[in-house]
């Protein structure tokens, strides 16, 4: 079933409140719904016109650079930040005036935030205690939650006796043990070292699937976002740039920002030199490439051709050819990354599997890509569709 509920009022120009579509598709309401949220700190507007509807049981990631407003949005769901306009609904209930401790939300922090003076059991049991769960039931559920995060038998330990990864798993157990309506994860992997991060990524995703809980995940790491999410909301400067599945945002970036932020795509500026037949673009560097345009383009119009480094291959493959000189080459074993000067002050990156020899700095090189493998942006940086 297509994930049609995650919709957005088109980012720019804002037509506020245009779409809260899809909600009618199911009988039950979305887990979390934002309607034209504005959040301001004094004069500084952190989030503007944010609308989003999150389907129950899905894993949605807010992705963007620091300061883009993603954490602010997460905190507004929890009630830790007041919204200055719009509405937030959790499970169809408006929560603007509901204090945080009555919202029934699981929250996982970047810094774990385990209570340092309470042992693991008391930490995990904390939420159950405030929900008047009887003691034997608390013991049972805490035990179950600890098993789920693969740390059974650690009830008596203090947080200071656990490693960072273990602490974060306890924090996860604490956040899900009382079966909250939404699980909010605020950069939960950023404080961990690289190996632990990958392990936790898999773990969090697995637990989310098992419990069927709705999860909202905040990160600035594109790899985390791509590997874990059902949907990604790419944000920049308080606005939504694109919403889509990992594949959609990666393969067909809606804006120049998304193309650059996710995987540093090559952005080749040029002008449309042939508008019919196969559309052709003459790059500023002087070379002409064929592209697939979703609609006829005016001749002489300025466009940007976006090509992922992975779509550029060395050698014969690809209908389009770009020749240049290798500026730098990084050998990665199975593949190599080349920075290639294609003239006119333009440098492109190619990430290509190694077939045959590895090129060296200063050598002439020819890379190719398919016309289907690129996306066209207009002068304003928006995808032409």
């Amino acid at each position: 079933m297509p994930d049609s509920q995650d919709t957005i009022s088109s980012p720019r120009p804002a037509s506020a409140g245009a779409t809260i579509a899809g909600a009618a598709a199911g009988t039950d309401s979305p887990a979390v719904e934002f309607r034209d949220i504005d959040i301001a700190y004094g004069k500084f507007v952190a989030v503007r016109d944010f609308s989003l509807s999150i389907r129950k049981g899905s894993f949605v990631t807010l992705l963007g650079p620091s300061g883009c407003g993603k954490t602010t949005i997460l905190r507004s769901i929890a009630g830790l930040v007041d919204i200055s306009g719009g509405q937030i609904m959790i499970d169809g209930r408006r929560v603007d005036d509901v204090p945080i401790y009555k919202r029934n939300i699981g929250l996982v922090f970047q810094s774990y935030a385990l209570f340092p003076h309470k042992n693991v059991f008391d930490n995990v049991a904390f939420g159950l205690k405030y929900r008047n769960v009887p003691k034997p039931e608390i013991v049972r559920r805490v035990g179950k939650a600890l098993e789920m995060v693969r740390l059974p038998g650690t009830e008596k330990k203090l947080p200071s006796q656990l490693s960072g990864g273990q602490q974060q798993r306890i924090a996860l157990a604490r956040a899900i043990v009382f079966e909250p309506q939404v699980l909010l994860l605020d950069e939960p992997l950023s404080a961990l070292d690289a190996n632990m991060r990958e392990e936790m990524r898999v773990e969090i995703k697995k637990i989310q699937k098992e419990t069927g809980i709705t999860a909202i995940f905040v990160t600035h790491d594109q790899e985390e976002a791509l590997s874990m999410s059902d949907r990604i909301v790419v944000m920049n400067a308080g606005r939504v740039e694109q919403i889509g599945t990992p594949q959609e945002v990666y393969e067909t970036p809606a804006t120049a920002f998304v193309a650059d932020f996710l995987g540093k795509a090559n952005m080749l500026a040029g002008t449309v030199s042939r508008s019919s037949g196969p559309t052709a673009v003459t790059l500023a560097a002087g070379q002409t490439v064929n592209v697939v345009a979703p609609k006829p383009l005016a001749q002489g119009g300025k466009v940007t051709v976006v090509v992922r480094p992975q779509k550029l291959s060395v050698g014969a493959a690809g209908a389009n050819r770009l020749s240049g000189r290798v500026v730098s080459a990084s050998y990665l074993g199975g593949s190599a990354i080349y920075e290639i000067d294609i003239g006119g002050g333009m440098t492109i990156r190619a990430n290509t599997p190694i077939s045959g020899r590895v090129f060296r700095e200063g050598e002439a090189i020819e890379v190719g890509f398919d016309p289907e493998g690129c996306v066209l942006l207009d002068e304003g940086g928006q995808r032409i569709s």
């Binding site: 401790y101 029934n104 602490q167």
Partner: protein, 279 residues
């Protein structure tokens, strides 16, 4: 060249060591002298020692005025410690956790009593009381001591409070604890070292206070320091040395014991789980 520099270094070290020793002697000689002389058998409160005796302590025990003053000081200090700690914790919490207009001014004002000379405060409170035609009562004396101790307790608690990260409270709130519950269950326990430290400091400030107490005490009431002062007016009796030693014991001993209890409490909690794993 090299040896000369080493030579200079050695002299610098010796000088530093000498000055340090001098400072310590200067600081502790009076205390040591008082304690030693309190055991002197001589009638006169000075050196040389003529023999070891506990007679001045016995005399002290029999002195009703001294015992009354001791009791007065003790309960004033206890009340001061309790009230000041409560006020200090609440003030520090407000100053650290909330943003409100005039916060900066308030946080400066709260430590002002610690900066204003005590004599001025003493006279000031007295003048105020006189101007509204109120008698000097015990309540006034206690309130005065609280006024003197609050700044220090606020400073201590504020420093600790700033070190307690807000995420702990946010986590507690998100788990369903009300603001009050999260303060009681999370913030306050983490604040305990500052609370205990502040209470002990408030106790000693009150127990030791002389000049302000002279202004504020009701007629006929003596605290320990004012009692010593009035005894000194008559003669320098060795009894005063004994009294001084008792004062030292109380004001040094209580914080020391308090600190030790606190330390053993935290150690007890840690015991039994030897797998200390560094983050």
């Amino acid at each position: 060249m090299k040896t000369r520099r080493r030579e200079e270094g050695r002299w610098a070290w010796r000088l530093t060591g000498f000055i340090t020793v001098c400072v310590y002697i200067f600081m502790f000689a009076p205390i040591v002298a008082t304690v030693i002389l309190s055991f002197n058998a001589s009638m006169f409160g000075g050196f040389p020692m003529t023999g070891f005796s506990l007679q001045w302590y016995y005399k002290l025990m029999a002195n009703d005025a001294v015992l009354a003053a001791f009791r007065t000081s003790l309960w004033i200090a206890l009340v001061t410690a309790m009230v000041t700690t409560a006020v200090g914790v609440v003030t520090a919490f407000a100053l650290v956790r909330f943003d409100f207009p005039g916060k900066q001014a308030l946080s400066t004002l709260v430590i002002l009593p610690a900066l204003v000379p005590e004599t001025i405060l003493g006279v000031g409170l007295l003048v105020l009381i006189k101007s509204i035609d109120q008698p000097r009562t015990m309540l006034l004396l206690v309130l005065g001591h609280i006024l003197l101790a609050v700044p220090y307790v606020v400073l201590i608690t504020q420093a600790r409070m700033a070190g307690i990260r807000r995420v702990y409270e946010e986590a507690a709130l998100s788990l369903g604890a009300s603001r009050f519950s999260s303060f009681r269950e999370i913030t306050l326990p983490l604040l305990v070292p500052a609370v205990v430290g502040g209470a002990l400091l408030a106790f000693t400030i009150s127990f030791d206070n002389t000049s302000a107490s002279l202004f504020w005490r009701p007629a006929g009431v003596e605290t320990m320091p004012t009692q010593i002062l009035s005894m000194l007016k008559i003669s320098i009796s060795p009894e005063i040395n004994a009294l001084g030693t008792v004062m030292i014991l109380v004001t040094v001993g209580i914080p020391l014991v308090g600190g030790l209890i606190l330390q053993s409490l935290t150690r007890l909690k840690r015991r039994g789980q030897p797998t200390e794993e560094a983050r």
